[in-house]
């Protein structure tokens, strides 16, 4: 009886073992089959009525759109400048031209437009024969002050980053007139002592960077 029991229990145990062995083998064979490199798993394919076309939204895009404009008005509230702007080029000796009226400001038409990448160059008179002109107080413009260019509804706002005075022959012309990836304005006027023949000895250059909105 006892032996039978033992025997029965052995049979049961061996059946369990067989199940485990068979189960393991089945699993191993199945998993080996699933991983077999010569029989890759194939995704069921869906039928498309139309060939798949990349829409414009799916193409990797880069936008170069900018809002730039030819400025018609310059505002510098901290030194009470509210001037109309005229486009200027170069005079017959290759200098940037100045506006026809001492109360106006000249925008260099070979440079950048307001809001655009590049140098937006603006010239204004320090004085005329009788006294102060539009940029008479430019040297008092504090760093961080706001300078605004406008044209009808369009506005580009800049922040003053430097106010520098140079001898005429040392003005950094490349920084002012050459192409740049910066978006900045350069305000230029006269400064320093005046000579009857040579004119003003120095130039004041105020640089302001576009405040991106």
């Amino acid at each position: 009886m006892r032996q039978q029991l033992d025997s029965t229990s052995f049979v049961v145990r061996s059946k369990t073992l067989k199940l485990i062995v068979i189960g393991s083998l089945t699993f191993l064979i199945w998993s080996a089959h699933a991983q077999a490199p010569d029989e890759p798993f194939v995704m069921p394919t869906a039928e498309f009525a139309e060939p798949l076309v990349l829409t414009s939204e799916q193409v990797d895009r880069q936008s170069f759109h900018t809002n730039s404009f030819i400025p018609s008005r310059l505002l510098i509230p901290s030194i009470d400048v509210d001037a109309s702007i005229e486009a200027v080029g170069k005079d017959d000796v290759g200098r940037m031209d100045t506006p026809s009226d001492e109360d106006r400001v000249g925008w260099y038409r070979y440079g950048a437009k307001a809001g655009a990448t590049g140098n937006v160059v603006l010239s204004g008179h320090l004085d005329d024969l009788n006294g102060p002109a539009i940029f008479a107080n430019l040297d008092r413009l504090p760093i961080g002050e706001v300078v605004t260019l406008q044209q009808k509804g369009q506005v580009a706002t800049y922040e003053v980053v430097s106010v520098n005075r140079y001898r005429l022959e040392e003005v950094p012309l490349a920084s002012i007139f050459a192409a740049t990836q910066a978006k900045r304005i350069q305000l230029i006027t006269c400064a320093g002592p005046y000579d009857e023949k040579l004119g003003y000895r120095d130039r004041l250059v105020v640089t302001a960077h576009l405040i991106e909105t």
Binding site: F64, K90, V93, Y108, G111, A133, A178, C190
Partner: protein, 265 residues
């Protein structure tokens, strides 16, 4: 327009077909530097041993630097590490001309590519070229959206010739050479009349920093500083001095007369 030049290594820069636009009649040239090596660190640029640019990172294009015409040795070093030269090249620059020197390629094979920038402008027209500085990108075409290529079969390191376009805003596409699929769509590329541009294709198609196009205006219509004063303030100032002198003189005379009268009394 086929690629015309891929100027590398020796950087012999001698092109006579661009009229020099001299800033001020002086013997200066203008040079700017582009960092287009996608895996290189921030760098300092040395010109004849002197630091000229500090801390330029990938995608940075410096302003033009003014240098007297002549021969220079340009060295690129990791930012703040004056001892290590990443790559160096000799550069010859001519008065009145503009140049771009670009550090290109992966760091392990970094090179300096130098090119002359066209600073001869045409009213109402834009002159444009393409520089392929994306090391893992195939040869490419650049075309108007859906149109025929303007620039064909540009390989890595190639810089196209300038092509002339009417000023305007263009939607362009970068495509694998000869193919119609689009690697990159460039929307709203605004080309101003009287301006010249280089479109630098930089970055990596596979990985970071990602492939993109850096559009830069070239050269510049240089001018001398404007004459912005007529001396009115200076003359007013001298008039003021005269007036002040007159006042002081009158006061002194008055005081003298007053003293004399007092003494006489």
């Amino acid at each position: 327009m086929k690629k015309l030049m891929s100027l590398l290594g020796t950087l012999a820069l001698a092109f006579a077909f661009v009229l020099p636009v001299s800033a001020d009649g002086h013997e200066n040239a203008m040079v700017r530097v582009l960092h287009a090596s996608p895996d290189a660190p921030a760098v300092d640029v040395y010109v004849d041993g002197e630091v000229a640019v500090e801390g330029a990172e990938f995608k940075d294009l410096t302003d033009y630097l003014t240098l007297p015409a002549g021969d220079y040795n340009v060295e690129i070093k990791p930012a703040g590490d004056a001892e290590t030269v990443v790559v160096a090249a000799d550069l010859s620059i001519e008065a009145g001309k503009f140049y771009t020197a670009a550090a290109i390629g992966q760091l392990e094979s970094i090179e300096i590519a130098a090119m002359e920038d066209d600073a001869n402008f045409e009213e109402g027209k834009s002159k444009v070229r393409v520089a392929h500085f994306a090391p893992d990108a195939p040869a490419v075409d650049v075309a108007p959206k859906g149109g025929d290529p303007l620039f064909s079969n540009l390989e890595f390191k190639a810089v196209s010739d300038y092509g002339t376009l009417d000023a305007g805003t263009y939607d362009l596409e970068v495509r694998p050479a000869g193919a119609t699929d689009v690697v990159k769509a460039l929307d709203g590329v605004a080309l101003e009349g009287g301006m010249n541009y280089t479109a630098f294709a930089i970055g990596l198609l596979e990985g970071e920093p990602a492939f993109e196009v850096l559009l830069a205006a070239d050269g510049g219509e240089m001018a001398m500083a404007p004459e912005t004063g007529e001396g009115g303030l200076a003359q007013t100032a001298s008039m003021n001095w005269l007036f002040a002198a007159a006042v002081v003189g009158a006061a002194a005379a008055g005081f003298y007369v007053f003293r004399r009268q007092k003494q006489d009394a």
